[in-house]
Subunit: 243 residues, 2 copies
Amino acid sequence: MRFTSETSSDGVCEQLFFLNEIPGVLWTPEGAAGTRPLIVMGHGGGQHKKAPDILDLARRFVTESAFAVVAVDVPGHGDRPLDEEYHRIATENQARVEAGAEPAPLIAEFHALVARQTVPEWQGVLDAVQKLDHVGAGPVGYWGVSLGCGLGVPFVAAEPRVRAAVLGLGGAAASADDAARITVPIELLVQWDDERVPRDQSLALFDALASAEKTLHANPGKHADVPVFELDSTLRFFSRHLT
Amino acid sequence: MRFTSETSSDGVCEQLFFLNEIPGVLWTPEGAAGTRPLIVMGHGGGQHKKAPDILDLARRFVTESAFAVVAVDVPGHGDRPLDEEYHRIATENQARVEAGAEPAPLIAEFHALVARQTVPEWQGVLDAVQKLDHVGAGPVGYWGVSLGCGLGVPFVAAEPRVRAAVLGLGGAAASADDAARITVPIELLVQWDDERVPRDQSLALFDALASAEKTLHANPGKHADVPVFELDSTLRFFSRHLT
């Protein structure tokens, strides 16, 4: 793990790093020492580790809850090079959708493919970050919607250190088997008029989760219209389960 | 409005009253003076104005939010005499369910009938309570699940003083038209494995609400298994909209 920069503003320390070839960012309270809860955040499709929604929520985790937060670029995103295979598949999918194919199954299949790479990558990031003195091996949460849900479901299913997760804007198409292996508390965000994820697929993902505590929050609006009050709920959810 | 008793405990003043023949209870902070938000609470079927769930949540509204809370017995419930017509219909419905009829439409039809009486009753209670010095004409919220939802949907639709409501454990069967007239923020509680309300009816009620801000919270379990953390959410919802 190689740190390339460290800056601080308004109580939040931001460290950019590489783990092997994976570019990442770690946010912690300024002057933090000792073990604390850690949130792994997965960004959306076409986005990156410091996308505005990630950055805003990460800063809130740090300033309001004194958590650490880590995010890395998904292959082919942010500061990572174009991945030839993923790019080819994404381009083919785009053409199939323009020719009239249903996008949801194609997206789900693509997420499942990428997850085979990102699950071990994120587990390696978790190993490395938890060795740092100002993070430590505390309780871990996962937050991710859209692509971050498609990659997050297999990650949460595979990673026993994750104790609670906020997921959403994703369907069960490719991840029902993984969802059935998840037993930790989940808050699942559903946009009622999501133009990318069919409603029945969102509800099927909620059904598939094996968690005894799982709560579905549905709100009107399209894929990107998650209301601001859900961020408050997310902070409380993780405070309840990680502290 | 005739008060029949007043007691206080742990910071909560409880006043029992009659408005005409309607028995009610008003909870306010001990020593309260001046206008404050008011929550009207509707109890469940076979329950009464001081049922444990009503009492527990009312005390939290008072102690944590300094709200006033009012609840009255629904006809045929609590301290009210048996209503011959309602009793006859309920008995007939029970027999039809035992003979194999679907309970949900019968329940919905029954709620719609009772609501024609309770909507004006509750409006009268609101008139009377808001004239009291320690309540006043502040913002009003409504809370009710199960029977309290069946009667609450038409009440919230009819009563412009209600600015926000928590509803749930009820379906759209008899109340879709009323729901379509509701435009205030709603938090709707759904039990995913509700043995009394079909899931599609709960989702149809959410769909039918005309509110720009409406949020559906679904949790696993049967009709009576609403998790405790939803009470915290309810308190925050009303704080956000009434203060």
